[in-house]
Structures are given as C-alpha cells and as structure tokens.
Symmetry: C2
DNA sequence: ATGAAAGCGCTAACAC
DNA sequence: GTGTTAGCGCTTTCAT
C-alpha cells in the first residue's frame, strides 16, 4: 500500500545506523572511511532488499550535479540527427547520464529558450548543433563553466569545443567529381541560414567551380520547415535554369530534389547528374543510386561524447582548451553521376 | 564573477521580504494570498532583473513533480519513432514538460533498466512503446500512480492506456489489395518478438490469406539490430520460395527487402509486387513507388500526449479509466502493386 | 569506525 | 497581507 520509495532514513532506521554511514557505503566510500565489511554487507543487502534508489533530486540539490546531458539538434526527426542522437544515447548511458533533447528548427528564439531550459535543468553539459545567433548564449554557458560541445555548425574562435566535418572539402570533391564526368552547368541548392558567403558548403562549391573554370549557379534557400515549399523552390530552379548537374546541400533538399527530378521525368544521370550531402537509405537504394557526400556519423557522435565526457570528468579543462575537431567526409559514388 | 544563479533567498534578502511571499508571487498565488499589487510588481521586476530561475531540483524535491516525461521507443533513429518523438516533443514543451528518451532495441533488460531510470528520475509520466516482458513493470508503475501511456504495442487488459493502430485491419487490406491484383503467392516477412500467433500484423495477414483462399507464406524473423542480417535473411527467403508478392511488417524490413529485390534484379511489380508497413521517404520516391500501409503518425503522437496530459492534470483519473485507442491505418497505393 | 548536524533551494501549513 | 518554520532526501564536515 504505502509503497512509496524508501529513503535513506528508512534504511538507517531499519538498520540502526546513521544516514551518514549509509551514504558513504552506498557511494563506495566505505573503504576510505574504514567501515566494517560486515556493516557494508548488511547495508547493501538491505538496500537491495528494500529496492532503495537514491532520490536524484535531493542528490542533485546537494551536489549540484544532475547526470543529465542536453542534446540540441535542428530536428530530431531528421535521420542525420536521429542517428547521432541514437549513438550519443548509447554512449552516454554507459557513463550513467541521461539525455534531454530538443529540436531548434533553426529558430534562434527556440534555440535560446532551450539553452535556458538546459540551464534551468542544470544539465551537466550539452551537445549542441547551434543555430546562428546563439553565439552569445553559448559563450555565456561556457564561461559559467558548463561543458558545451558544438557540432554540425560553430562560431569561429570562441573557445568552445566543436566537432565538425570538412564541409568545404566534401563539397569541393563532389564538384570535382561532377566536372570530371563532364558536367558543365552544375547547380548548388543549399540552405543558407545566414550569409551564403559564410557557409562552408557554399564556399567549397564555389572554389571548386572556379578551379574548374565553370559557371556558377548557386541557389541559396532560406530554412523553412515545410517540405512542400522546398519541392516548389527546387522545381522553379530547375525550370528556370538549364543545369546538367545538381548538388544538394543537405539530405532533405536532396530528397526533395530527387522527388522533383522524378516528377519532371528527368533521367539521372543523363538529363541531370546529382549528388547530395548526407547519406540516406533512399540514396543508397534508389535506382539509380545517388552519389553522396557522407558524413561520418559514428565518428561525430563518438568525438562529441568523448570530448564532453573528458570535460565532465575533469572540469578544470572546461575553461581552458578548446578543440575544434574536423572529421573527413567521404564521397560515395553511385549511378547518379 | 560570482555569477552563480540567484536563489529565492537572494531575492528575499534584497527586497526585505520573506521567501514565502516571493514563492507565492512567483507561483501566481499572489491573488489568493492577497498580496499587494505593489509588492508583486516589485518582486517580479527584481526577479526578472536578477534573471532568477527557480531551481528545478529543489522544486521537485519539495513538490514531488519533475516536469519530465520519459519517452521510450524501440529505436530513436528509426524514422517512425523519430517522427513521433519530434511531434511529442513539440506538444510536450507547450505544456512545460521536457523529454528524456531512450531506445530499447526490443531488449527486455534494457527496457526494464530504463523504466527503473524513469522511476529514479521521478518522471511525471511516460510514453512507452514497450517490449514484451515488461508487462509486470509497467503494471507496477501504473499501480504506483505514475501515468503511463503505451503505444505501438501493448499487453491486453492490464488497465494501462494505450494508443494503437489497427494492425490487423491494415495488414488485411494490404493482402486483399494484392489478391485483387492477381497475386497468388504472397509472402509476409515480419518481426515476431514473441509468439507469431500473437502478432496482430501476422494475424491480419493470415486471416486475409485464408479469406482469399491463398497459400500461406509467413516468415517470422526475430528482432536483431543488424541491417545486414535482415538483407541476408530476406534474400534467403526469396531464393527458397517463389513468391509473386511480398508484404513487409515494418519499415526497416521493407527497406532491406527493397534493397534485396533491387540487387536480385527482380522487377517490381512484374516479378514481385511489394507492400511495406510504415510510410517512408524512400517508398514514396522510389521508382516504382512502393505501396504502403501508413500509420497515422501525427494522430498517434497527439493521442498519446493528450491522454498523458489529461492524466497528469487530473491524477485521480490515472488509476481509474484505461482507454485503448485504436487508430486506422491507410493503404497508400503506389506503382509497386 | 561511526554519527550529529548543517544546509542545498524550495513550498506550504500555520502563525501573526 | 506577510513572515516563521519545518521539512523534502541527500552529502559532507567535524566531532567522538
């Protein structure tokens, strides 16, 4: 009936031992406190028997640590982020942490709200794919000693750790590949949240186009939630420009683009060669297969966690070193090029 | 420098007011406590000024409520669950809750671990796509007064709310559709965690096969993490049986199946007609398009949240009513059939 | 080798 | 109208 959780006091009372002792034993400090084997046994046994679980909130209130990690991505339903979330989940649980996630939808306000939430929740650290406009807030968290690891996007030299991917290089090789296959009019359709001149994927694209002496067709698109709108935008781009190849800056643009191409009855790669950033089941299985610039998802997750965990374990590090890791992408050539 | 968060005491000291008063004001109980307008203003202003944020842990410790909701799915990186997670996130935040998620991988032990974690974390409620074998634990949570809403899978009449989908009916109509198109040897490739006789999708399939006087080809597969293994299993099934149509019980089996079909050079729908449970970008965009039994993702998320929120708002309900909502699936016919 | 006691930040019954 | 006070369950210093 009164099945409510047993507290440390319950244990203490039942065993005629003080809370202190119980606490030490349960926290593995029995040795250094020289508590007798016998007592340790007894306490452990009774704790197990009663199904005792420490109250995380009391614990957090006392210690200031929460064992919660915040994960902030653009959209948790995007397979790229979902896969990362899955991997991070796996690795984080092994270290006794839990994850609270949220999707920013590239909205600064949402992003900041969530940062506040993380702060309110007192997460021990967080892994964030930031939107732009959050620079200030991220820096503040960092300065307050919270461990933050950025990925997917970051802001120059602000002292925050980041796990990035070689976006410029990846894009450069994609264009190179297309050019080598004889493409002349290569378009780039990519999200530009901010200034297109600052987007690495766009920069890499332009550089490759220039190096290959080709004409530049860049179509920066603002971020919008709706898939339908992208279909619309892309089909307009296709009808107004006679391209023989196209590169998409993200998986969802690639997907939308592929749908448009198919709808318009364009043949890949004869009428239109195609490459998308990010691999996806769709790109692998589609006939013809779609060439992609794949991001090393596993490595991104691993590095992000490793970085965060090492800061968490050694808080002194947090304020000091800031490392920006850049992981290579890989061009997976399929029949679309 | 000492930028650590201001507490209620700080506020109280600064304004020469007691914590009590602050607490009441901040919790919107100023009216009923008949606190003067002026004071309310002053407190609110100073709170905003100092950037005061209540300490969630102290709050939780005191009230027993945490504003955290646990979300447990089979695999957060599966688009079906990821989409649900996204929608649930959206709806939940509007109500001031946060989400902690975890992926069971259909592993009972993991599932139970996470349930314990939810319990330790004192989540206010949870939305769970259970694995089998968790019946007992779910029932216990429920009996302890925790709000639990199941989806995707549930255990008969155990008094827990559940949001389900008409799996039998969806599968039935898929087979019916195939039969109407002249398919004779229709195979079903589906995960059977437990007894295949208890899996609704398999039941629906068999019923439809019987009603249409066809031969029964059911290939229950155990759940395994690895995609490669499914490829293997499926291609064996295809080489050992001469089917003219196949139905896949879940999106990842459908994806693997499609990959196998393409690899084997089978033509859809001439050599092999195909239907998969769950819609997916891949099925929509693939040429030919793949007919699917789509689940109403949005509705599932909405119902789950609605149910949970109403229980949370009115705890008295929790122990009483248990509702099993069954949502319809829809057959989206494409070129694969 | 063990325990008493203070206090983390907050809420709410009960005074005044 | 506003303040006092007693905890929520835990950790940890200091005493014994």
């Amino acid at each position: 009936m009164t099945d409510s959780k047993p507290s440390m006091s319950d244990l203490a009372k039942k065993l005629n031992v003080s809370k202190t002792t119980i606490s030490f034993i349960l926290n593995g400090k029995a040795k250094e406190r020289r508590i007798s084997e016998a007592l340790v046994e007894k306490v452990l046994a009774e704790a197990a028997n009663l199904g005792y679980r420490p109250n995380q909130f009391a614990q957090s209130l006392r210690t200031g640590r929460t064992n919660i990690i915040g994960l902030m991505v653009e959209d948790i339903s995007n397979p790229f982020y979902a896969s990362i979330a899955r991997l991070i989940e796996e690795k984080v649980y092994q270290n006794g942490y839990r994850i609270v996630y949220c999707s920013t939808e590239n909205d600064v306000t949402r992003g900041k709200d969530f940062l506040t939430m993380f702060s309110t929740l007192s997460v021990d650290g967080c892994i964030v794919a930031p939107t732009q406009g959050m620079e200030q807030e991220i820096r503040e968290m960092h300065e307050k000693g919270k461990s933050v690891v950025l990925f997917d996007r970051y802001f120059g030299n602000d002292g925050t750790d980041a796990v990035m991917v070689d976006n410029q290089g990846g894009m450069y090789r994609a264009v190179e590949h297309l050019a080598a296959r004889g493409a002349k009019d290569i378009g780039l359709i990519a999200i530009a949240l901010d200034d297109p001149e600052k987007e690495d994927r766009i920069i890499g694209f332009k550089k490759a186009i220039a190096d290959n002496g080709l004409a530049t067709y860049v179509f920066p698109l603002p971020f919008k939630g709706g898939y339908e709108e992208y279909l619309q935008d892309i089909s307009e781009i296709f009808s107004r420009n006679k391209l023989d190849a196209v590169v998409f800056g993200t998986n969802y643009l690639g997907i939308a683009g592929l749908e448009v191409i198919n709808q318009m009855g364009l043949r890949i790669p004869d009428d239109m060669a195609m490459i998308s950033f990010d691999d996806h089941d769709l790109f692998r299985i589609h006939r013809p297969g779609i060439t992609v610039v794949a991001q090393p998802i596993e490595a991104i997750a691993q590095k992000a966690i490793d970085t965060l965990m090492s800061k968490l374990r050694n808080p002194a590090l947090t304020k000091k070193t800031a490392e920006v890791i850049t992981l290579p992408t890989s061009l997976i050539v399929r029949a679309s090029t």
